[in-house]
């Protein structure tokens, strides 16, 4: 990090959004005003060009607090954690949208803000417990025409589990060891449905059967430790489906599993999505899993989106050097074996001290391609390279295409 320019360019600060604390406070009042359509916040934000914001030309973002047309729309989401060492900008201006029946894959290294994003959508950051300071949240999350960040926590609580639910990475720590699987599913169901225990139990058995657990009527009384890893993950999925959620967030759902079980779980998620028509966000660092499931892919780096496009575009015409690095890091079982992998050098940046300019510049082999050291001074905006395909890189389209076609693609 010593090669970072010491001075912070002032123009960067000038067009940055107001302090998250201010925005958070302002949000509540703004939301009320926005309902009347009186406040135009177009000039408030210059960095929110991410995602598929409807009718927004790249480079001129509009943040108008209008209800989203898409099923889920995240606009300029920022989640910052105040810590003793400084402000951790885990998510710093993320925007995307998702329709029902579609799957969005979020890819990135550990610490790129993937999981924090998902917890933010679930509304699990709002409580500051155990003496921790509350994270600072700003931006908008629209689900089905309702804004979640400014909504009453009790309202969000009613949505959680019923409209949005989540499959966690490690089922052993996400399931309570003291209660039976059945008890935990029944609990999730009865929170949102006024039914007696008998009916809820029947629902639990039905769900366990649906996710492929053998002898569900017997297994419903098992404890989590009596299940194998794959079965626990199935039980977790059963629990998250208890209320037929419309949005399912799967955070590394198969990372802890064997390939054979992973294939079963991925198939299960795919089938269930077809059956219930829900929107799915799948968060993973495994590009193989993303390619299996996703319609769209969002590549995250340092808390921001660096590339967004359809799965086809991201795998066949990736525009960002970080995406190239990820693709080059993977040994491919479907291609001829290469002698060497071409990994991204270095390690992920600290989110307290995100490198100046493009966050990826210390690790980018092409940081010097754009003239004048712009990669080290100015943060690249998310621009459309073609309709629907966005990338945050200073390089010219021509340079990127040349490098991809001549240097990267042949080595994969």
């Amino acid at each position: 990090m010593t090669d970072q320019p010491a001075e912070k360019p002032e123009e960067q600060k000038a067009d940055a959004v107001p302090e998250p604390a201010d925005t958070a406070a302002a949000d509540a009042t703004d939301a009320a005003d926005a309902a009347d359509g009186t406040v135009d916040q177009a000039e408030q934000d210059a960095q929110a060009a991410g995602g598929k914001v409807a009718d927004t030309a790249p480079g001129e973002p509009v943040l108008d607090k209008k209800p989203a047309s898409a099923f889920l729309e995240v606009r300029d989401l920022r989640i910052h954690f105040p810590t003793q060492d400084g402000l951790v900008k885990s998510v710093d201006g993320l925007s995307f949208s998702l329709e029902k029946g579609q799957t969005l894959g979020i890819v990135g290294e550990s610490g790129s803000g993937k999981s924090v994003t998902s917890l933010g959508i679930m509304g699990l950051h709002t409580v500051g417990q155990y003496g921790r300071q509350r994270p600072k949240l700003s931006g908008e999350i629209w689900l089905n025409g309702q804004e979640l960040l400014t909504a009453d926590p009790d309202e969000v609580r009613k949505l959680r589990g019923r409209e949005i639910s989540m499959i966690f990475q490690d089922p052993l720590s996400a399931l309570h060891p003291f209660f039976t699987i059945g008890h935990q599913i029944v609990e999730a169901y009865r929170v949102h449905h006024d039914v007696d225990k008998k009916k809820a139990r029947a629902r639990a058995v039905e769900l366990l059967d649906r996710v492929g657990i053998p002898e569900p009527a017997k297994r419903v009384d098992s404890f989590p430790h009596e299940f194998s890893g794959g079965m626990r993950q199935r039980a977790m999925i059963a629990m998250s489906l208890a209320n037929n959620p419309e949005l399912l967030i799967a955070d590394e759902p198969t990372t802890a599993l064997d390939v054979t079980v992973q294939a079963q779980i991925l198939d299960l998620i795919r089938d269930l999505q077809k059956e219930f028509g829900s929107a799915v966000i799948i968060i993973t660092h495994d590009l193989g899993v993303v390619a299996e499931l996703s319609d769209d892919i969002l590549v995250m780096y340092g808390g921001r989106c660096v590339e967004y496009g359809t799965a086809e575009e991201v795998f066949y015409e990736p525009q960002h050097p970080y995406t190239w690095g990820l693709l080059g890091s993977m040994p491919r079982i479907d291609r001829e074996r290469t002698d060497r992998l071409s990994p991204v050098k270095g390690s992920p940046p600290s989110l307290i001290n995100v490198p100046e300019g493009c966050a990826f510049n210390p690790r980018c082999p092409y940081a010097d391609v754009p003239k004048g050291g712009i990669t080290r001074t100015r943060r690249p905006e998310l621009r459309e390279t073609k309709p629907g395909h966005l990338s945050a890189c200073h390089m010219d389209q021509a340079d990127r295409e040349r490098i991809w076609n001549e240097e990267i693609a042949p080595k994969l």
């Binding site: 290294e109 194998s228 079965m231 054979t260 079980v261 193989g288 795998f315 491919r332 479907d334 990994p343």
Partner: protein
């Protein structure tokens, strides 16, 4: 990094001749490890976990043997047996022609110089209260070796060999990221210039970009130092990238053992085929096609406490016939250098052509 060969520690290893490439370095025959299950006050044995149940293989000098299998198939136990961190129940392990199966602590000490291990979890395999210097120099201290130029200089050289900075000598493990910690573990394993390095899931705890860095590092070190690797992993893409020969394990046994090309081009054991077809391919265009080719294995691996009779895979195999439930298939070469334990292999003549009646599962 280029001069690393000329600066090897001369202390104790200089007198040992380098084994020639292609010679058998490690020979394992009939290796078994059963962990007893005890019950009651008197610790009466009521059963055993058949973690490793009869392995035969060789590791040749200079090659990389990859070992794959699902969790619970005994691959890690196998790694600990050949490094003699566990005492085998039965069978024998020979290292450079010397039987090391039941050597005691003193007998093993010289062996520790030649056989080293890289562990899976870089967080739990490094003592948090020791500095990197203390961790990497521990092998020298234990073996009583004084490398040329002193321990500190040698440790700093090793750190630079694995891509860390010599200034990291006085830091603690918590100051490093996962990939860097794994490099510390590798530096420690290389300290005594071993011949055989057993790596148990060396990259599975790492991010994909860091994983590629460590894979490349292992590759470079093998070429520079002429190391022999046994790499245990569950990721078939990584195994294909690093290995020369590959052993596929299922419930404590090797079901297929062959070189890389034959395994990935013409897998013979149905289990290998199922494993290969389950690997998610990073290519959205193959999604449709792949879905059709995929062989979905039902259920989980059976318990190694009570493995199925006959062929252990018969409970999940779609080709299983009557004979599979009764007769255990031997591991036999069905093509040059391609050993398989199956009655009805793929890409090879059927071993039990008379038996065609599909197995009825209860």
């Amino acid at each position: 990094m280029t001069d690393s060969n000329s600066e090897q520690p001369k202390g104790g290893t200089a007198t040992v001749e380098e084994p020639r490439a292609g010679e058998t370095l490690l020979k394992v025959s009939g290796l078994k490890k059963h962990f007893p299950i005890t019950k009651g006050l008197l610790k009466r044995q009521v059963g055993a976990v058949l973690a490793v149940d009869g392995l035969d293989f060789e590791v040749r000098s200079g090659e990389t043997l990859g070992v794959v299998g699902e969790s619970g198939c005994g691959k890690s136990t196998m790694g600990r047996l050949i490094t003699r961190l566990l005492e085998p129940t039965d069978g024998s392990v020979e290292f450079e022609g010397k039987d090391i199966t039941h050597l005691g602590v003193n007998g093993l000490r010289p062996l520790r110089r030649d056989v080293q291990m890289i562990f899976q979890d870089p967080y739990s395999s490094l003592n948090p209260r020791h500095t990197v210097g203390a961790i990497v120099s521990a092998p020298f201290k234990l073996q009583g070796v004084t490398p040329e130029g002193g321990v500190k200089k040698e440790v700093q050289r090793l750190l630079s060999v694995v891509g860390l900075s010599p200034e990291h000598y006085n830091r603690y493990p918590h100051e490093f990221s996962g990939g860097q910690r794994q490099r510390i573990g590798i530096a420690r394993a290389l300290a005594l210039n071993p011949k055989l390095v057993v790596a148990d899931e060396p990259v599975s705890a790492l991010d994909v970009s860091i994983q590629a860095q460590v894979v490349n590092l292992l590759d470079d070190l093998q070429q520079e130092l002429g190391l022999t690797y046994v790499i245990i992993a569950h990721d078939l893409s990584v195994i294909r990238h690093v290995s020369d020969r590959i052993a596929v394990m299922y419930l404590g046994k090797i079901v297929e053992l062959t070189d890389r090309e034959s395994l990935y081009d013409t897998p013979m054991h149905p289990y290998t085929r199922a494993l290969l077809s389950a690997v998610p391919v990073p290519d959205p265009r193959r999604r449709e096609k792949n879905g059709r080719d995929r062989i979905l294995l039902q259920g989980d691996v059976p318990s190694p406490m009570n493995p199925p009779s006959g062929c252990r895979f018969h409970t999940r195999c779609w080709k299983a016939t009557q004979v599979c439930a009764t007769k255990e298939p031997p591991l036999v070469p069905l093509a040059t250098g391609h050993q398989v334990a199956c009655h009805h292999p793929e890409n090879a003549p059927d071993q039990e052509p008379g038996d065609t009646e599909p197995l009825v599962r209860s």
